[in-house]
C-alpha cells in the first residue's frame, strides 16, 4: 500500500493586505527614504514579488536615531514605568488580535510552515511583550542594582529566520526598561516588522519610541556605527558579530550579540528512541534548520547508532515538504536563493570530504527555493559539515562510546549556544549538562523557548542573554561609577 495522501489544506491569504510599497517608519510616521532606493521582498516558496521596500540610507538612519533620541528626552523618558508597561500590554493584545494576519504574512515572506508561524512565532512574540510589560514598573526588583535607568537609544539588527519573534525579543525588553529603539529587520523578511509599525500606531505608542528602518547590510552598519546609538543588539552570524565587536571597540557603546551555533544533540543508549528521534527531527528540521541553536550535530552512542539512524530515516520519509501555507506542511522553503546556494555548497563539500549523504524521496516544487531534509552519516570531527554552521535542514551524524567522549566532542567547537541530551538516567543528564559549554541545554526535549527563560551563548556564540531577568541587564544602566563602565 502506498503512502497516504493528504488533500491540500492551504491557509487563506485573504487576511493579509499587502501594500505595493512600504516607506520607513520614523518618528511615528511613514517617511520616504532620502536616497529613494527601493528593493523587493519575495515569497521564497514561489519567488512571487510581495512588495517593494525602502532602503534606508545613512541619512535615513540618522533621522531615525534622532527621532528615537527626541522620544527618549520627551514623553517616553518622562513616562512612569506603569504607563510604559501598559503600552507593552496593549501591543501584546494587538499581536494576539492580529495573530492570524501576522502568521500568514510571516509565512509568505519567510517561507516557514504556517503551523510554525501560527503556533510558535506569533504566540511567543505576544508572550514576550506580556512578560516584559510586567517588568516595566518593577525593574528595581530585578536584582540588577538600585535605581536602574535606561541605557538610551538602542540600535537593533535582527535576522530573517524568526523575523517577528526576534523583533519581540529585541523591542520588548528595550521598551520595558525605558529605552527607545531603531530596528533594522533583515532585507529578505521586512514585512512583519512593517506590520508591527502599524501595531505601534494602533497602540498609540508615542512617536519615535520605535523606529523601523529597512535595508541590507549597509543600513545595519550605519545603524551600529551611528554615534547617537548607546547600545547595539544584534542577532546573526558570528562573522558579522565579530565585525560589530571590532567596530564598537574603544567606544562606550554597549552590545549584546546572539550569534551562530553548532549544537550537539547527544543520544545515549538508554534514551527512549522514539522520543529521541522526534527530538532529533525537531532539533534540526524545525524552521528548515534556519535556527542558530539547531541540533545540527547528532552525537549518538555507538551501540545504538544503527537503530537510531534507521528509525530517523523512516521518520523523515513521513515529513511533508512543500507549500508553507498548507497546514499539513512540516518543512517549508529555504529563505533565499543565497542561503540555498550556501546549503548546497556545504552539502556538496560534505560528500566530497567523504561523508555519506541521504535524503528521503520527496518531490520539491519547481519554483522557489527548496532543499530536502538531509542526513550525513559517517561524519568525522574534522569534516567541514561538523564544524561550520549550515543553517539549513542538514544533519551530521557522529558517534561516541563514553559520556566523556560525548562531552569532549560536543564541546569541540568555537561555538557554545545550545546542546541536547537524551537519556533516561537523571544523574547522567545532570552530569552531562554540567560539562557542556553551552548557554542552553535541552534534556529530553529540544528547541523550547519562553520569554521567562534566558537564551544566549558561551564562547563565539555571543555576548549576553535575552529573555528572563537576565535579559534585562543589557537594557539598564545603574547608578554609581563602576557598574556603568562594564
Amino acid at each position: 500500500m502506498g503512502k497516504l495522501e493528504y488533500a491540500p489544506a492551504p491557509e487563506s491569504r485573504a487576511v493579509v493586505h499587502l501594500k505595493p510599497s512600504y516607506d520607513l517608519f520614523v518618528g511615528g510616521d511613514w517617511v520616504a527614504s532620502q536616497g529613494g532606493t527601493r528593493f523587493t521582498t519575495i515569497s521564497p516558496a514561489t519567488e512571487e514579488v510581495l512588495a517593494e521596500v525602502a532602503e534606508a540610507s545613512a541619512a535615513d538612519v540618522d533621522r531615525a536615531v534622532r527621532a528615537a533620541r527626541t522620544a527618549l528626552r520627551g514623553p517616553w523618558g518622562r513616562m512612569s514605568g506603569a504607563d510604559r508597561g501598559k503600552y507593552l500590554f496593549r501591543i501584546a493584545r494587538i499581536i494576539q488580535e492580529r495573530a492570524r494576519e501576522l502568521a500568514v504574512l510571516e509565512t509568505l515572506d519567510n517561507g516557514k510552515p504556517i503551523k510554525e508561524s501560527r503556533d510558535v512565532d506569533v504566540p511567543l512574540a505576544a508572550a514576550h511583550f506580556f512578560y516584559h510589560a510586567g517588568w516595566a514598573d518593577k525593574l528595581s526588583y530585578a536584582g540588577l542594582g538600585p535605581d536602574p535607568r535606561p541605557v538610551g537609544v538602542v540600535g537593533q539588527v535582527i535576522p530573517w529566520n524568526f523575523p517577528l519573534l526576534m523583533l519581540a525579543w529585541k523591542v520588548a525588553p528595550a521598551l520595558a526598561c525605558g529605552n527607545t529603539v531603531v530596528l533594522k529587520p533583515a532585507e529578505t523578511t521586512p514585512l512583519t516588522a512593517l506590520l508591527f509599525a502599524e501595531i505601534c500606531q494602533q497602540a498609540e505608542l508615542p512617536p519615535g519610541v520605535v523606529n523601523i528602518v529597512t535595508g541590507a547590510g549597509g543600513t545595519g552598519q550605519a545603524l551600529v556605527e551611528h554615534p547617537g546609538v548607546d547600545k547595539v543588539a544584534f542577532t546573526g552570524s558570528t562573522e558579522v558579530g565579530k565585525q560589530i565587536a571590532r567596530s564598537l571597540a574603544g567606544t562606550r557603546k554597549r552590545a549584546t550579540l546572539e550569534l551562530g551555533g553548532k549544537a550537539a544533540n547527544i543520544v545515549f543508549d538508554d534514551a527512549p528512541v522514539d522520543q529521541a528521534v522526534e527530538g532529533i527531527v525537531n532539533g534540526i528540521f524545525f524552521n528548515q534548520g534556519h535556527v542558530c541553536c539547531a541540533g545540527s550535530r547528532l552525537l549518538v552512542q555507538e551501540n545504538v547508532a544503527d537503530e537510531v539512524v534507521r528509525r530517523l530515516k523512516r521518520r523523515l520519509t513521513t515529513l511533508r515538504v512543500g507549500d508553507p501555507l498548507d497546514k499539513n506542511t512540516d518543512v517549508g522553503a529555504i529563505n533565499s536563493a543565497a542561503q540555498l546556494e550556501r546549503i548546497r555548497e556545504l552539502s556538496d563539500l560534505g560528500e566530497a570530504e567523504g561523508a555519506t549523504r541521504w535524503s528521503p524521496e520527496c518531490e520539491l516544487p519547481t519554483r522557489g527555493f527548496w532543499f530536502p531534509p538531509t542526513v550525513f552519516t559517517g561524519v568525522a570531527q574534522a569534516h567541514t559539515i561538523a564544524q561550520q554552521e549550515v543553517f539549513g535542514p542538514v544533519l551530521s551524524v557522529l558517534t561516541f562510546r563514553t559520556p566523556q567522549e560525548a562531552v569532549a566532542k560536543a564541546n569541540n567547537t568555537p561555538y557554545g549556544l545550545s546542546a541536547g541530551v537524551w537519556s533516561e538516567k537523571g544523574s547522567r543528564i545532570l552530569w552531562v549538562a554540567d560539562q557542556l559549554r553551552a548557554g542552553v541545554v535541552w534534556a529530553n526535549t529540544f528547541n523550547k523557548f519562553d520569554p521567562t527563560s534566558p537564551f544566549g551563548g558561551y564562547k563565539e556564540s555571543g555576548w549576553g542573554r535575552e529573555g528572563g531577568r537576565h535579559g534585562l541587564e543589557a537594557y539598564v544602566a545603574l547608578a554609581g561609577g563602576q557598574e556603568e563602565q562594564l
Binding site: K242, A245, A249, D450, G480, Q482
Partner: protein, 319 residues
C-alpha cells in the same frame, strides 16, 4: 656594590651594614605561573623604583622579572589546565580557600604595607589601611562563592510542562590588566571576583608598581589556591597586554589596567579581543579616556557578572 651603597635599596629601606647592625636579606621578585615562581623565560628584568617621597627622588627597590609574551602564553596554559578543577570544587570549598588567602595576607600586613607605601608613596599608616581594605575585599568575595548561583540564577516559570533552571558558570580563563596606580587594593579588586566565580586568571601586574603583586602571589601560593588558578606576570603592560587580548584560549579580558599604562590603547586591545569574542570589561572613564576608578567603593556585582555565563537547562515534567 656601588649601587647598594649609593641607592639605598630594598623596600624596607635598609642601608648597608655597619658594625653592630645586620645586613638585610633582599627579596628576589619573580613571576608566578602554574603555582611556581620562575624568572622570566626571557632572562630579562627591570628596575623598580619607589614613588618619590618628599624631597627624596625615587629610590631603587628591586629588579623585577620582565615577563615576556612566552611567559604569558605559558601562564594561559597553566590557567586552562587549572580552571576546570577550580570550577568543579564546591562553592563552599572555594569560599574557604579564598578566606584562607585573606588570612595569609593579614599575617603579611607589614610586608605588604611596606611595599604599598614604597610603591604608592603613602604614609605607613595609610598603607596599612590600604592593605586592610585589600584583605577585607578578599573576605567580601570569599563570602560570595556560594551565593552567586542563588542571587544570579533561578527557576524560570515557563509556559509548559518543563523544569527550567538558570545558573551562572565561570567563563573560563580571564586575562587581567591589573590597575597601574592601585598596586594592591586595585589588584585584589579585579582578581578576586574572577577567581571567586570559578575562573582562572592570568594577571599582568602594575608595570611601575609590581612588588605588592608578587607578594600577593606568595600569599596565594601559601594558601590553598591550586597552582595555575592565579598566574601573575610582571613586566611591560604594553608588551604583555596584546598577547592576552589576542590569545584564542583566553575567554575574557579585564582592561582595568589600560588606564595610565604607557603605550597601551584599550581600543586596540578590545579590537583584538573581538577575534574570539572575549567578554571584555572596559576601563572606567568617559569618551575614549580611561581612568582608574575609586577602588575603595563597595564593588557591586557588575565585575563578577562580566566573567560569568548563564546556563539554562530544560527538562520535561510528567508522570
Amino acid at each position: 656594590m656601588s649601587s647598594t651603597a649609593t641607592r639605598r635599596g630594598g623596600v624596607e629601606g635598609g642601608g648597608p651594614a655597619s658594625a653592630g647592625t645586620r645586613l638585610d636579606v633582599r627579596k628576589t621578585y619573580k613571576l608566578y605561573i602554574g603555582g611556581a615562581f620562575p624568572r622570566s623565560e626571557s632572562g630579562r628584568s627591570y628596575e623598580v623604583v619607589s614613588a618619590p617621597a618628599g624631597r627624596r627622588g625615587p629610590r631603587f627597590l628591586a629588579n623585577a622579572a620582565m615577563g615576556s609574551r612566552k611567559d604569558v602564553r605559558d601562564a594561559v596554559v597553566a590557567a586552562r589546565a587549572a580552571q576546570p578543577g577550580w570550577a568543579a570544587a564546591t562553592a563552599y570549598n572555594r569560599g574557604q580557600v579564598l578566606y584562607r588567602v585573606a588570612e595569609v595576607m593579614e599575617g603579611r600586613t607589614e610586608q605588604l604595607a611596606a611595599e604599598v607605601a614604597a610603591a604608592e608613596g603613602l604614609t605607613p599608616a595609610r598603607a596599612r589601611a590600604v592593605v586592610g581594605a585589600a584583605v577585607d575585599r578578599w573576605v567580601w568575595w570569599a563570602g560570595w562563592t556560594d551565593k552567586l548561583a542563588q542571587v544570579l540564577g533561578g527557576l524560570n516559570p515557563v509556559a509548559g510542562p518543563y523544569f527550567d533552571i538558570s545558573a551562572p558558570e565561570p567563563t573560563g580563563v580571564v586575562g587581567v590588566l591589573a590597575p597601574q596606580a592601585s598596586s594592591l587594593l586595585g589588584l585584589v579588586s579585579v582578581v578576586a571576583p574572577a577567581v571567586c566565580a570559578g575562573n582562572a586568571v592570568v594577571v599582568a601586574a602594575s608595570e611601575e608598581r609590581p612588588l605588592p603583586a608578587v607578594t600577593l602571589a606568595e600569599c596565594l601560593a601559601t594558601s590553598d589556591v591550586p597552582g595555575g588558578v592565579v598566574n601573575l606576570v610582571t613586566g611591560r603592560t604594553a608588551e604583555l597586554a596584546p598577547t592576552l587580548a589576542s590569545h584564542r584560549d583566553v575567554n575574557a579580558l579585564d582592561l582595568a589596567g589600560a588606564a595610565g599604562a604607557a603605550g597601551v590603547d584599550w581600543a586596540d586591545l578590545e579590537r583584538a579581543a573581538a577575534e574570539n569574542l572575549k567578554r571584555v570589561i572596559r576601563p572606567a572613564g568617559t569618551g575614549a579616556d580611561a581612568v582608574e576608578p575609586d577602588w575603595s567603593a563597595e564593588p557591586g556585582l557588575a565585575r563578577v557578572r562580566a566573567v560569568l555565563e548563564t546556563k539554562t537547562v530544560w527538562h520535561p515534567k510528567g508522570r
